[in-house]
Symmetry: C2
Subunit: 201 residues, 2 copies
């Protein structure tokens, strides 16, 4: 089974990771398609997602199978004293940036949701590509990645190996696009139908 | 702040709870609307959601604030040896049924997503009402609740105090409907816009 790693960090936006986690988890579990091996992974062994949803990741950065596909979600911002949290902290976290760079070389697909694109941008992976992010982070992405075309009008951008999506719920559409890319339109439609996601046609 | 309890159990479908959790968590956190106090709660202190997403609930049934609103998600089915899991186990769990019945008396709103409706049906709360569930569980709901009109054509049904939604992703739409009901159309639209959920108009 293809290995799909959903990367977590403190203050990650819940739907950013839970939407694609759901899509990939239910793909290929009925009459058609191939099941995927979906797991969560983080630097630390206890994650407090947004609004204090406490998650124990399946693996940490020190102990995990090599992913075929990995996803960087977003979320976070700045506290009133300017301390960054969530993606705004992770985009300056050398451990996160190193993990992404080293696994990006081998991965078949690299995905971001929402402000996860800011973290990818800091690794240089978005240079020369078309990317999108949460609508409130468009200017930040432009500043971080001047060699990236920021597609504000798209729900997701597909550069072949690197796929980015707009804010929060757009990650769900991006995940169906990835299922279609990996296993074809019929499997993506069947997965959307199972999830009663009437918006994916 | 209004207290919104998201009830969890083993094998709960991830998007069933994570979609509404996200919607309620981000409501009223910007220029308009009132924030909500959203938390997870379960019988046990460690929950393995579908595909082994491990969650530590904020509270257990033995120690939690009284919710103004509570949500019963779905998920689950039967193993090959006919052992029920997820909602199909919880619909026969006296602890779960007792918790629902005792908190239903005081709650302002009672919500279900997907096969969470099967659990609500077993408490008698859906008798005489219109309800919906995952499309694959429609016949089961009809058998469990012969005095309930099962609205297979609707994404959610609103009976005033008891609101049910169809499968998995329909819980997101139902949650926006609840935000609109509690705080008005403008707040629901602003929340959907923040989440880039273009499908809620």
């Amino acid at each position: 089974m293809k290995k799909i790693a959903i990367v977590l960090f403190n203050e990650v936006e819940v739907l950013d990771f839970a939407g694609p986690f759901e899509v990939f988890s239910v793909t290929g579990r009925r009459a058609i398609g191939q099941p995927l091996d979906v797991f969560t992974i983080a630097e630390h062994s206890r994650i407090a997602a947004r609004n204090n949803l406490i998650i124990t990741p399946t693996f940490t950065f020190h102990n995990h199978p090599t992913p075929d596909v990995f996803l960087i979600p977003g979320g976070g911002g700045y506290h009133s004293d300017s301390t960054p949290f969530g993606s705004r902290r992770e985009m300056h976290n050398p451990v996160m940036l190193h993990w992404i760079k080293s696994h990006a070389e081998k991965a078949e697909l690299i995905l971001s949701v929402c402000t996860g694109a800011l973290i990818l941008a800091r690794t240089g992976l978005l240079d020369g590509l078309e990317a999108t992010t949460h609508f409130l982070a468009v200017n930040t992405l432009r500043e971080l990645a001047p060699q990236t075309r920021v597609a504000t009008e798209k729900r997701f951008t597909d550069n072949g190996r690197i796929i980015t999506s707009a804010g929060v719920s757009a990650g769900i559409d991006m995940a169906f696009h990835v299922v279609e890319k990996l296993q074809g339109k019929e499997v993506a439609l069947e997965t959307a139908s199972y999830m009663q996601y009437d918006y994916w046609k």
